[in-house]
């Protein structure tokens, strides 16, 4: 079951639709990690020479929900900010990325060259947040799968720079390629705090099946 029809409808309703941004700011380094309910685990590190692009590395581990197969993908990736809208009390962005790496898995022979492409769109104010993200992985004669994620967030108070930001987030995710059947919804709480040495973002919650969904990001 694909999320795209729902995401398309949502995109029509919202001015634009993101997530942890793959490019934080010029000269910034971002380290991210995600535990996706036992189905996916990913760590990434990116450096942004400009606010328009960043480059880095990532490791992705996938485990099919019926445990038929697992995959490990290590990649180099470039992220590009395609378009940004700076509004008086809001910001919207569209990002795209692409990469190459090496993949191994229990359902195909030997390590393969893996390709990756994806995109993300976001719209954010001090109290409302929405994001739409798609990530496609491909290796010839081995696999082709996509992870689509939508998030909607609401902040109970407008946070300023020196205050802890709190967000309540609803997430929906689908996987193609036999990794997971159906939509995996999750409810999350996100905390964000700036410090002298950097900014920390922590997000944790549960899926409908009661599995842990969490993410962290550190920017410096």
């Amino acid at each position: 079951m694909s999320l795209f029809p729902y995401l398309g409808a949502l995109a029509c309703l919202l001015p634009a639709v993101v997530f942890a941004k793959p490019i934080a700011y010029q000269g910034g380094t971002a380290i991210m990690g995600e535990y996706g309910a036992g189905t996916m685990q990913e760590v990434q590190a990116f450096y942004a020479p400009s606010y328009r692009w960043s480059a880095g590395i990532g490791l992705l581990h996938l485990e099919a929900d019926d445990h038929r197969f697992s995959r490990d993908i290590a990649y180099l990736r470039g992220n590009l900010l395609l378009r940004r809208w700076n509004l008086p009390r809001a910001q919207a962005n569209v990002f795209a990325w692409g990469g190459i790496g090496t993949a191994s898995g229990s359902d195909f022979e030997g390590p393969k060259t893996g390709w990756n492409a994806g995109g993300q769109a976001d719209y954010e104010t001090l109290r409302f947040y929405s994001s739409l993200r798609t990530d496609w992985q491909y290796a010839q004669n081995a696999y082709s799968h996509r992870i689509d994620t939508v998030q909607l967030g609401w902040a109970p108070y407008a946070h300023d720079w020196d205050r802890l930001a709190t967000w309540f987030v609803l997430q929906g995710r689908t996987y193609t390629g036999g990794i997971y059947e159906g939509v995996e919804p999750a409810a999350l709480i996100r905390l964000f705090k700036n410090g002298r040495r950097g900014a920390v973002w922590v997000e944790a919650g549960v899926t409908r099946e009661g599995r842990l969904q969490s993410m962290f990001m550190f920017n410096f």
Binding site: K21, A24, Y25, Q26, G27, G28, S50, Y51, R52, L81, R84, W85, N86, L87, P88, R89, A90, Q91, E124, T125, L126, A158, H159, D160, W161, A165, F192, K193, N194, G198, A199, N219
Partner: protein, 112 residues
């Protein structure tokens, strides 16, 4: 003679009054797109590296960035705009003020 004396006195008073006027101590900028805390961190880092910068204040709630200048130093509007544009934001207005950054902070906190 009296006319010359009055004119000299007037000129001296004018220059004293100019001297008494405070030089700008802070620069306030209205910035669009200032909503996420990442934005604040990036801007603070970038502007904090400028030689004339003493301290940076970012207020997401007010869409405002303020810089405290080091004594006797200034930053051109052009260089400020360029720094913020390079950081990915849009500058809408730049204003120089004689008040300190602490006074700006207090004014923003007092806002309803």
């Amino acid at each position: 003679m009296i006319h010359r004396l009055i004119a000299a006195l007037f000129a001296a008073l004018m220059s004293l009054s100019a001297l008494a006027q405070d030089p700008p101590r802070t620069i306030e900028m209205r910035v669009d797109g200032l909503v996420c805390a990442f934005c604040a961190q990036g801007i603070s880092k970038k502007l904090g590296k400028l030689e004339a910068t003493e301290e940076v204040l970012v207020s997401l709630e007010n869409g405002l960035v303020a810089i405290a200048l080091k004594a006797g130093q200034d930053l051109s509007d052009e260089s400020l705009s360029r720094s913020l544009t390079d950081a990915g934001y849009t500058v809408k207005a730049i204003e120089r003020k004689a008040e300190s950054l602490d006074a700006v902070r207090a004014r923003l906190k007092a806002k309803p």
